[in-house]
């Protein structure tokens, strides 16, 4: 494969900078306040949004809380062991979280109820059903589209500081659409949206998230190889351009029926 890639060929016929087909299905989990099933090639992720009330995080007393988790289900590949999240899954969840959080996609400042005491708590959980590479982007797109399609319960503060669910629903206060683009280096080539096979022989990985204005919001270099400064600057530029393409696609796929 390394040899093929050095000649700008990929096993599935894609160009080096070509993403796989992205499919998004919304609302598949009726019990969730928002949900999405994303297929990026053969990688498949279901994300669900659940909204409750709870205490704010320390130091962020006037903001709603956003809590993101991921589980790579043992259905996803023969190599997954059921159990608490391992190092890689923790990194995955934290990188996806960082894209959402640092881009300030959700305006958490609008989700406090009683500052310092009670705020909206938004759980976004990802279940990875099938693994065929690039879980960073697949999970990120699932989370972003689940949030975009979500309807939050409207809570109200009553006298005596009781917080009640009014039964009404509202759109979440969203400000931007963060899109992550993951590239991996194999030999001297840098390719986008790697499959499981490609990840198995990658030297290094880089995931770059941009917001709707094309600004960078988060970045994570991963794996045990290294990049030159130029490779990184180039990857950033590609992430900006490809990110905009994916953003357009996500908008299109999530606007059906909205």
């Amino acid at each position: 494969m390394r040899e093929a890639i050095s000649r700008s060929k990929r096993l599935d016929g894609r160009d080096l900078d070509e993403m796989r087909t992205l499919e998004i299905e919304l609302g598949i989990i009726g019990k969730a306040d928002g949900s999405s099933r994303v297929r990026l090639g053969n990688s498949e992720v279901v994300a669900g949004v659940k909204v409750e009330t709870g205490e704010p995080f320390e130091g962020l007393e006037n903001k709603g809380a956003l809590i993101l988790s991921a589980e790579v289900l043992p259905t996803a590949s023969p190599y997954v062991e059921p159990g608490p999240p391992d190092e890689e899954t923790i990194e995955l969840a934290r990188v996806v979280d960082r894209g959402v959080r640092e881009s300030e996609m959700v305006d958490l400042g609008k989700l406090a109820l009683i500052p310092g005491k009670v705020v909206y708590v938004i759980f976004v959980d990802c279940s990875i059903i099938n693994y065929d590479g690039n879980l960073f982007d697949a999970s990120s797109y699932a989370v972003v589209s689940a949030l975009m399609s979500s309807k939050l319960p409207v809570f109200e503060v009553q006298e005596g500081e009781a917080v009640v669910n009014t039964g009404k629903k509202m759109d979440p206060p969203l400000t931007t659409i963060p899109v992550s683009i993951t590239a991996v280096k194999i030999g001297d080539s840098v390719i986008l949206d790697p499959t499981a096979e490609e990840e198995a022989c990658m030297d290094a990985r880089i995931t770059i998230t941009t917001n709707s204005e094309g600004k960078f919001a988060a970045l994570q270099k991963g794996s045990t190889g290294s990049f030159t400064i130029d490779q990184i600057k180039k990857a950033a530029e590609i992430a900006r351009i490809k990110g905009e393409e994916v953003r357009t696609k996500i908008k299109e796929l999530t606007s059906n029926g909205h």
Binding site: I28, I29, K31, E44, A47, G48, K50, E52, E71, S77
Partner: protein, 246 residues
């Protein structure tokens, strides 16, 4: 269980419009998890469940291998967003128990002696939970085992019956489970005519007990037909199915 409102109306219709002997909508798709050796996706009422099978394969750690048979392992797990209130992702005692009875419900259907020293893993993920998720999970898992090409003595459909407003009804949904007075999930091998899972929560007299058992049995036979069609659909396509039906 608390009885707070009428769950069956004057026309014998239940809260979701079903008659007493009617199943919820059940849809099974075979082979939807690309990497698995076998898989199935089931919609059973509002249940949304994926079952994936890996194996027969090597056992890790090795000392768990059996010299004369295959080890069957089973995990029933609920995604955090599957329930009304967010579920903690760590396995609950309930999930541990269901994983056990699910394994015991599937094991009699498998020719485990054909795969000595190996293991088969069945992973059941509940993406959305409604009443009867364990029955739906067993139903999907049995189809996934068939899809994986495991040697089987029979398919295992599962279905509950229960008591609601004093009447024995088929296929308890979420509301009926919470507000009804009894729930009896059953798994049954239709050709071998054997019960592989049976549980009961709630009060039944002897007569109701037998009626409930018989009704759940009928449900299993109906589920079995749906399992069979889903497998035919996968392996022979729509055409074959039409021919067969004609």
């Amino acid at each position: 269980m608390v009885q707070t409102r009428s769950l069956i109306d004057e026309h014998g219709r239940r809260t979701d419009g079903r008659t007493m002997d009617e199943l919820r909508n059940v849809k099974i798709q075979v082979g939807i998890v690309k990497n698995a050796d076998g898989s199935a996706y089931i919609e059973f009422g509002k249940n949304r469940i994926i079952a994936a099978v890996y194996g027969p394969r090597e056992v890790h750690p090795k000392h768990l291998a059996q010299p004369d048979r295959c080890v069957l392992r089973c995990r029933y797990h609920m995604s955090p967003f599957s329930t009304d209130t967010r579920k903690n992702p760590a396995p609950s005692r309930r999930e541990v128990e269901i994983s056990k009875v699910m394994r015991e419900a599937l094991e009699p259907s498998l020719m485990l002696e054909d795969y000595p020293r190996a293991a088969i893993d069945v992973f059941v993920e509940v993406l959305q939970a409604d009443g009867g998720s364990r029955c739906a999970g067993i139903t999907a898992a049995s189809v996934a085992l068939a899809d994986a090409g495991i040697n089987m003595r029979d398919i295992v459909p599962a279905c509950a019956a229960g008591k609601v407003d004093g009447k024995i009804v088929l296929d308890i949904n979420d509301v009926e489970d919470k507000e009804g007075s009894a729930d009896m999930p059953l798994a049954y091998m239709p050709h071998l005519e054997r019960v592989t899972l049976l549980q009961l929560d709630g009060i039944l007299n002897q007569e109701e007990f037998n009626e409930c058992l018989d009704k759940a049995l009928q449900g299993c036979k109906m589920i079995y037909e749906i399992q069979r069609r889903a497998l035919i659909q996968k392996y022979f396509g729509d055409e074959q199915e039409l021919k067969e039906e004609s």
